[in-house]
Subunit: 239 residues, 2 copies
């Protein structure tokens, strides 16, 4: 079954949970790993991220869309294009709890954005798939549901009502950019002069990196690039 | 702001909350009041409904789509067309908690179905409107989101991302019946030989009755036909 959780708080057990926070957490995580960061440590708050500061770690985080005081980067995906260390610490209020919640109940947790749309779809195996829309401060976000619908349309399997709803939303917008522009998240970004992030996050399948949850510790989720699916890499390590 | 709660558990404070459980609770409540029942007592379980039995009360409830043992009616709207008493007691597992939850936080609570679509839209004033999709056992239902989208499209005001999502779902189906047929709720009804209920609940704006929450007591919601909007009925009682 392919199903959609419209908010991070609605996560339920599944074989694979795919967390979606298009503007901008999972777009930034995707691009960071595609750009060469070895892993991304996802923290739920600025304070939690600050406590993770260490050599070779780059801190990224926003306060109302702007770079957090004392941080190296804001939350714009493009800022991760040239890694300044081996690990990115990302503070994100909506993405982090969704990933942590999924980690408690799902066999595998992936992070999806439009940037890695096709790579994520190719990575997802069969079984029970839950597409988790992080939303914004408890409110459902168009751009997350849009991507859930785009992903659902690429997968084989029976669709829940939620998946059918997401696919209807995906079909309602001629382009990804139009879906992102329609969201309230876009209003906030434009207000802060970050409209370039919207166009950047609307790019489809420009990288192959698929962030995969490696572990959680003290409320911090550690994501690393997924290798080949587990079964294949175990049985054919030399491939 | 026009917003949508995709599940009854996601209710938040609003001036007006409109509860939607198309298959079949709010369709049955609507038709019962349109047919002449003075009020509908909405209970959250068969046991709770049974405890409300009294003279002049008619008990309606289902166990897996079939009439509950010892009850007068099942949950098919058509069964309420000829009132057998002044009050209908309706046991409904998804609709009742959504109505009760809305009662805690909303200024006015209405119940909507396709049967009274235009009447509900006309009744809703301005302010903060929350369209509450009851869903099914914690899962989002297409038919409820479809009606939320139809209602949203008839209202004036700014739309949240949730309202835009619901309108996209409404626009995705050429007819209400197609939206209802696509849902998992329809699968259950067909399996129980109740496919006639789907066509019945898909009829649009065939009655003017708008169920309005009058009070709650011990987890039971009492709905009565809305008169003129409160302000008008107070200032002009003789109308």
């Amino acid at each position: 079954m392919i199903d959609v959780a419209f908010l991070g708080t609605l996560v339920r057990p599944a074989d694979t949970a795919v967390v979606i926070d298009v503007l901008r957490a999972t777009s930034t995580i995707t691009l960071a790993l595609a750009s060469g960061y070895e892993r991304v440590l996802v923290a739920g708050s600025i304070e939690q991220a600050r406590a993770l500061r260490a050599d070779d770690r780059v801190l990224a985080g926003e306060v109302r869309c702007a770079r957090a005081p004392g941080f190296d980067l804001g939350n714009s995906p493009e800022e991760t294009l040239e890694p300044r260390g081996s690990e990115l610490v990302l503070a994100t209020t909506n993405g982090a709890p969704a990933i942590i919640a999924a980690a408690q109940v799902a066999g595998e947790v992936l992070a999806a954005s439009l940037l890695n749309l096709e790579a994520v779809a190719a990575r997802i195996g069969g079984g029970d798939v839950l597409l988790v829309c992080a939303g914004t401060d408890g409110h459902v976000s168009i751009e997350d549901v849009y991507l859930a619908g785009r992903l659902s349309a690429l997968l084989d399997g029976e669709r829940s009502d939620g998946a059918q709803i997401a696919e209807a939303v995906a079909a309602a917008y001629p382009t990804a950019q139009e879906a992102l522009e329609a969201s309230r998240g876009a209003i906030g970004l434009r207000r802060e002069g970050l409209e370039a992030d919207i166009a950047f996050c609307a790019q489809e399948s420009i990288v192959d990196a698929v962030p995969r949850l490696a572990r959680t510790a003290d409320g911090v989720a550690v994501l690393e690039p997924a290798g080949a699916p587990a079964a294949a890499s175990h049985s054919q390590p030399s491939m």
